[in-house]
């Protein structure tokens, strides 16, 4: 219909054009009538709120500067922090060993250069509620990216400019960024395989 309308319009001229247009307009109107006027225009009830994307890390903002917002560090496993809650009464044991009674769950999954590293390379033996840089400097758990960046300097550099890792919000304004440990388990940082969402339908799947 539309093709006729436009291509004919350019071909004809003068009175012919007028007559043709008239005919086509009539046809068009009838077409329009049967197609759109008969459509069900009933108003549906319902007062659902405007839906947006799942915004998993939207709130919980702690930090502000240069339009960049850090998302609050992810929560610790239940009842595990502060570490000093248990460790204050314990005699520190600096010997490298396999953990059996406590933190055996972490030991079981630990795969972050397991051969060469263990707990006290990153956790402070004296100040249990802090992390420890290679220099001996103590940092809080909310600054863990500094610890990661000691080895993964290239990632830290890319992360700072928003290229490694995910940023959400405004491409030209306020954004939220995630800490390394939002996405990577510090004890087993490699991404785990996940179930993919369904593939697109194929012709053979379509039931007629």
């Amino acid at each position: 219909m539309n093709i006729n309308f436009r291509s004919e319009k350019s071909r004809k001229s003068g009175i012919t054009l007028f007559i043709w247009n008239f005919k086509i307009i009539l046809f068009s109107c009838i077409f329009l009538f049967f197609n759109s006027c008969s459509r069900d225009n009933s108003i549906m009830e319902g007062n659902e709120e405007n839906r947006t994307l799942p915004e998993i890390m939207r709130s919980d903002v702690i930090n502000q500067g240069d339009n960049l917002y850090a998302v609050k560090a992810p929560p610790f496993s239940e009842d595990i922090f502060p570490c000093s809650g248990c460790h204050a009464d314990e005699e520190p044991n600096p010997n490298r060993r396999q953990l059996v009674d406590m933190h055996d769950d972490i030991d079981a999954i630990f795969s972050h250069d397991r051969e060469n590293r263990w707990c006290l390379d990153c956790h402070s033996i004296d100040t249990r509620d802090s992390l420890k840089l290679a220099s001996g400097k103590l940092i809080g758990f909310d600054e863990s990216y500094k610890l990661c960046g000691q080895c993964h300097g290239d990632k830290l550099r890319d992360w700072k400019v928003g290229v490694h890792g995910k940023r959400t919000g405004e491409w030209n304004g306020k954004k939220q960024y995630l800490l390394c440990v939002h996405c990577h388990n510090p004890h087993s940082p490699k991404f785990k395989a996940i179930k993919p969402l369904p593939p697109p339908v194929q012709q053979k799947d379509i039931q007629l």
């Binding site: 539309n2 093709i3 436009r6 005919k23 009539l26 046809f27 068009s28 109107c29 009838i30 329009l32 009538f33 759109s36 006027c37 225009n41 108003i43 549906m44 009830e45 319902g46 007062n47 659902e48 405007n50 839906r51 947006t52 994307l53 799942p54 915004e55 890319d158 400019v161 928003g162 290229v163 490694h164 890792g165 995910k166 940023r167 959400t168 919000g169 405004e170 491409w171 030209n172 304004g173 996405c183 991404f191 395989a193 996940i194 179930k195 993919p196 969402l197 369904p198 593939p199 697109p200 339908v201 194929q202």
Partner: protein, 306 residues
């Protein structure tokens, strides 16, 4: 031309005219029935190409559409016609070394951009390819469905509109229903598209999709925040495509696929801003464009983040 065929032609012509005259009474009824069509519907049918409209005409059209969609879907709709901003050229980068092929982007896009659920329209296709073969389209699989991704020895390449600087789909459109806006987004005026699908044939990325049937979206899943040239509800018989989420990016937000990506593989920004994430990637990473040899000059870049 011989006389017989000439006379045959004449006959055919007069025949068709006779046919037309025969149908006149039906036409008369139809014309009378026009009274049943609302002013908006008639106006919409004779609406000109969106690009040629004045501000007032656009406002009027947008207002009518909002009313129409709100009634149809039972919730408040906004149809924006926010134009491109000067000094912005949108670009996109996707990290091939990080994409795990989970298809979250595919479905976030469907929801954000009101793509038909059945018949199914997906603006993003994720290709699974073998690492040892590299980017090899002959052996690429879009229907992969293992228990877990990423699969050993494979990598994933999501393909969507590459927002070419030299868009073939635009060159071939016989009605100028699709064009590249000033911020680089290739858009479609669904009211002006005649559904000839020339653009689909011309696009080397398979990025354009046709509504073979009336699009079908559950009322509760429809996204009512729309743009005229983007995710507003489409009709049967028009072509649609990725617009970088025009309704989001022209309001400053990241596209939906960027926000959903669990590995942060998707990056977006202003190519004209030297401090943007996208410019950092172009200047510091190994970057490729898909089917470079075709000279489509995409603004969608693939890169290796590691």
């Amino acid at each position: 031309m011989n006389p017989i065929s000439q006379s045959m032609q004449k006959e055919e012509k007069s025949n068709s005219r006779r046919e037309f005259l025969k149908k006149l009474p039906v036409l008369a009824v139809g014309a009378a029935a026009l009274g049943g069509c609302s002013q908006e519907e008639i106006e919409e049918y004779f609406q000109q190409n969106f690009k040629t409209l004045s501000k007032e005409e656009k406002d009027e059209i947008v207002k009518n559409l909002e009313k129409k969609y709100s009634e149809k879907y039972g919730k408040e709709f906004t149809v924006s016609d926010t134009p491109a901003t000067e000094g912005i050229l949108f670009g996109y980068a996707l990290d091939l070394s990080r994409c795990i092929g989970c298809r979250k982007c595919v479905y976030a896009c469907v929801e954000e951009n009101n793509q038909s659920r059945d018949p199914q329209v997906h603006w993003i296709q994720v290709l699974q390819m073998e690492k040892k073969k590299g980017i090899d389209l002959v052996h690429a699989d879009v229907h992969y469905n293992p228990e877990k991704v990423p699969e050993e020895g494979h990598f994933y390449m999501p393909v969507q509109c590459q927002q070419c600087r030299n868009p073939q789909c635009v060159s071939v459109c016989p009605t100028k229903a699709t064009w590249q806006d000033d911020d680089g987004i290739v858009v479609v005026d669904y009211n002006w598209c005649i559904g000839c699908r020339y653009c689909m044939a011309a696009c080397p990325y398979g990025a354009r999709h046709f509504n073979w049937g009336e699009p079908n979206i559950p009322d509760e899943e429809i996204n009512p925040i729309t743009h005229y040239l983007g995710n507003r509800p489409r009709t049967k018989g028009v072509v649609e495509k990725c617009t970088f989420c025009i309704q989001r990016v022209r309001e400053g937000k990241y596209p939906a696929c960027v926000e959903i990506c669990p590995t942060g593989s998707r990056k977006f920004g202003n190519l004209l801003d030297p401090d943007s994430e996208i410019r950092y990637i172009l200047e510091n990473k190994r970057v490729l464009v898909f089917k470079e040899e075709l000279n489509t000059q995409p603004k969608f870049y693939y890169f290796f983040g590691v």
